[in-house]
């Protein structure tokens, strides 16, 4: 019996011992999983990623909060994987156009702007852009710019043209680039008028087209405060699309070959094949390196009947909803909108991630030491944002696909296709309860 009791005690002792070891192990493991760094994602190429890294390093130095930074080029795909795991990055720095979709899906948290130190240094128009239809705010503005027009100055001068200021002059210049010999290699017509990103990936073509349509008073949709009506098939819309149709389907075709399926039109301009390119100022550094500052000019968009409007593009900061570090999220946002954070985003080695500051105390041209940013800032004053208080993603994809079809097939049914497109946009707006 005694022996039995002793055996029992030994067993209990072993169990207790194992229990203690297990508890210690669990505690260690749990501690191992406890989040130590703020996980931040952006969609950036290697150069912009280097800039972000410098910005986050300064943030860590200042606040002591470590940052684990990931640049996700396939942002949406990678984010979906994290959504499925219900473990989102703490902070996302991404296009303003994604805010409404993320907010509606519960992936990002609402933000009270007044709770952020330095919120009053951010322009009102920037805060307006991160407001949803119901008035709630889901993002913190970080960077802003408008699409700008790049022209090969040397090519233009070789052919004896002035800087284009109207659509007619723009088309005349593009035609001369497409048919003449602007690069002086002795061969006519081996260069292209305009570099055009006709890809439907993320609905990109819809963004590019927006500017040329707006310059003629045409819009995909019009309205505000969460309710929009489709206007792309009204008389202004038809006229503007027919104008673009002539550029793509006329003779000569003013876009580079393969424009409708190229993932990016940038190489065509950067490598001296096309002479005009409308894109964001983030390309200034690489174009200057490749083409030379003396051969590159940035101009205000040549005006159509309704002016020189181009597309406003914005980058905002979002707070992932599964975070365990709310205070660190706020601290990072506060740093990123501060004069120090914004300046670093423009000047740290790499590629500027703050194209034009949202902080009203800063002057981009002075910080960059580059007069061309005066034009970039002027263009921003003449720009418009696509709807971002509603989830416009599906409508944007429909728009890009319709125009890719129209300009690939070139079969003259502009009015008919615009009517079909208007119906598709209306359906998508209706699906998100945003149809006026």
């Amino acid at each position: 019996m005694k022996q039995h009791i002793a055996e029992k005690q030994r067993q209990t002792g072993r169990l207790k011992c194992s229990g203690t070891v297990l508890a210690t192990l669990l505690a260690t493991t749990t501690a191992g999983y406890a989040q130590e760094a703020l996980e931040v994602w952006s969609r950036s190429g290697p150069q912009a990623a280097a800039t972000y890294e410098a910005v986050f390093e300064a943030f860590t130095e200042k606040t002591g909060i470590p940052v684990e930074y990931l640049t996700a080029l396939q942002f949406d795909t990678q984010l979906q994987a994290r959504v499925a795991a219900r473990d989102l990055p703490d902070v996302l720095i991404y296009d303003q156009s994604s805010m409404a979709a993320y907010a509606n899906a519960g992936w990002i948290l609402p933000i009270d702007p007044t709770s952020l130190a330095g919120h009053d240094e951010v322009s009102d128009v920037s805060w307006d852009s991160v407001r949803m239809a119901d008035g709630s705010t889901y993002g913190v503005p970080f960077s802003q710019h408008a699409q700008i027009t790049f022209v090969r100055k040397d090519w233009r001068e070789n052919l004896g043209f002035d800087v284009p200021t109207t659509h007619e002059e723009l088309i005349a210049l593009a035609t001369a680039f497409a048919t003449g010999d602007p690069d002086g290699n002795g061969v006519d017509g081996d260069t292209y008028g305009m570099a055009v990103p006709g890809t439907t990936n993320r609905g990109f073509f819809a963004w590019w087209m927006f500017s040329y349509l707006a310059q003629q008073g045409a819009h995909y949709v019009e309205g505000g405060d969460g309710k929009y009506e489709v206007t792309i098939n009204n008389p202004e819309g038809v006229a503007a699309v027919e104008w673009l149709y002539d550029a793509f389907c006329g003779d000569p075709n003013l876009a580079q070959p393969g424009a409708m399926t190229n993932a990016s039109a940038t190489p065509f301009f950067a490598e001296g094949q096309a002479g005009i390119y409308q894109t964001g100022p983030y390309a200034i550094t690489s174009f200057t390196d490749k083409i030379g500052a003396e051969n590159l000019e940035i101009i205000i968009a040549p005006a159509g009947s309704a002016g020189s409007t181009t597309l406003t593009e914005r980058t905002s900061i979002y707070f992932g909803s599964t975070t365990t570090m709310p205070e660190a999220q706020k601290a990072l946002a506060e740093f990123l909108i501060s004069e120090e954070g914004q300046t670093l985003g423009m000047t740290a080695p790499g590629q500027p991630v703050v194209r034009l500051p949202v902080n009203v105390n800063l002057n981009a041209a002075e910080i960059y030491g580059d007069e061309r940013f005066v034009t970039v800032a002027e263009q921003l004053e003449m720009s418009e944002l696509m709807p971002s208080d509603i989830d416009f993603t599906a409508a944007r994809l429909e728009i890009a696909e319709t125009f890719q079809t129209l300009f690939s097939q070139c079969n003259d049914d502009v009015v008919e296709q615009l009517d079909v497109l208007a119906g598709l946009i209306a359906d998508e707006l209706d699906a998100v309860n945003a149809l006026k």
Binding site: D76, T77, Q80, V83, A84, R86, A101, A105, G106, W107, D190, G198, T199, T200, N201, R202, G203, P257, G258, A259, M260, T261, A263, S321, T393, A394, L397, E401, Q404, T405, S408, Q409
Partner: protein
């Protein structure tokens, strides 16, 4: 897979809670005109690419069968497209297909007086341009399977046929093809299943464009899932693809067995 099946009956929103929607996702897939276009493109691409790749693989195997060292080198060179990443293959072919008159392929065709073609831009050509890339990159894989099959063909049959005065085509039709029947069947099933789930080639070459003319089932699934954020619809489309693949395999096995029984 169980999660995929479950999601195909739900409106998927991990953070707001998934909603059970019954067969709605399947109805969306089956009634969506983009999916209809994708089905027809997938079938044209699947049939054309499978047939083309099997045929080219077979011809390559006949040409490159043998023990000599130079053939070994050529076989290795021909096999390279199989081991090259699809994304790289796509980029190389984008360069080959560059649509201006001084693009590589257009220059070659120009030598025989053919006008420049907009391979990936012309809606009536793009699908066949993608098909060509698919044949180019998968035929060598089938070649290897055929080579293994050819090694098992009894040489004396060829000698006997030669003595009887059979021509080359008679020998191929009467000896080689019957002896390779199991290999042909396996290769055909592999080719068909592979063609059904083609994605990277299309995505890199055209992104499904222009005008949806190269949109296939898998690119539609990607667009629905990751661009439009309709994971439920994408899951339903994936399950339908799985069913089609299984059916195709079962039918192929059924026919193979029937032939073997006879």
């Amino acid at each position: 897979m169980a999660a995929g099946i479950r999601m195909s009956f739900q409106e998927v929103s991990p953070f707001l809670g998934n909603q059970w929607v019954g067969w709605e996702n399947y109805a969306t897939v089956l009634t969506n005109s983009r999916f209809h276009q994708a089905v027809s493109n997938t079938l044209v691409l699947g049939v054309g690419q499978s047939f083309g790749a099997v045929l080219v693989g077979f011809i390559l195997a006949l040409l490159l069968e043998g023990p000599s060292r130079s053939l070994w080198f050529v076989r290795t060179a021909v096999f390279l497209p199989v081991v090259t990443a699809s994304a790289v293959v796509g980029e190389i072919w984008r360069i080959i297909y560059f649509p201006s008159p001084d693009g590589f392929m257009n220059k070659v065709l120009g030598l025989v007086g053919i006008d420049p073609i907009r391979y990936l831009e012309d809606t009536s050509v793009a699908l066949y341009a993608v098909m060509t890339v698919g044949i180019w990159s998968s035929a060598p894989y089938y070649m290897v399977i055929f080579l293994a099959g050819l090694a098992g063909v009894d040489r004396t049959l060829y000698e006997a046929a030669a003595i009887d005065g059979a021509r080359l085509r008679h020998r191929i039709v009467s000896i080689t093809i019957p002896a390779l029947r199991p290999a042909i069947m396996i290769v055909s099933i592999l080719a068909a299943v592979r063609a059904l789930r083609i994605f990277t080639d299309v995505w890199v070459l055209t992104g499904g464009g222009p005008a949806g003319s190269t949109q296939v089932w898998m690119t539609q699934i990607y667009t629905q899932g990751f661009e439009r954020n309709n994971l439920g619809v994408a899951s339903a489309a994936s399950i339908l693809l799985l069913i089609a693949s299984v059916l195709l395999t079962v039918v192929a096995i059924y026919f193979t067995r029937n032939k073997e029984d006879r």
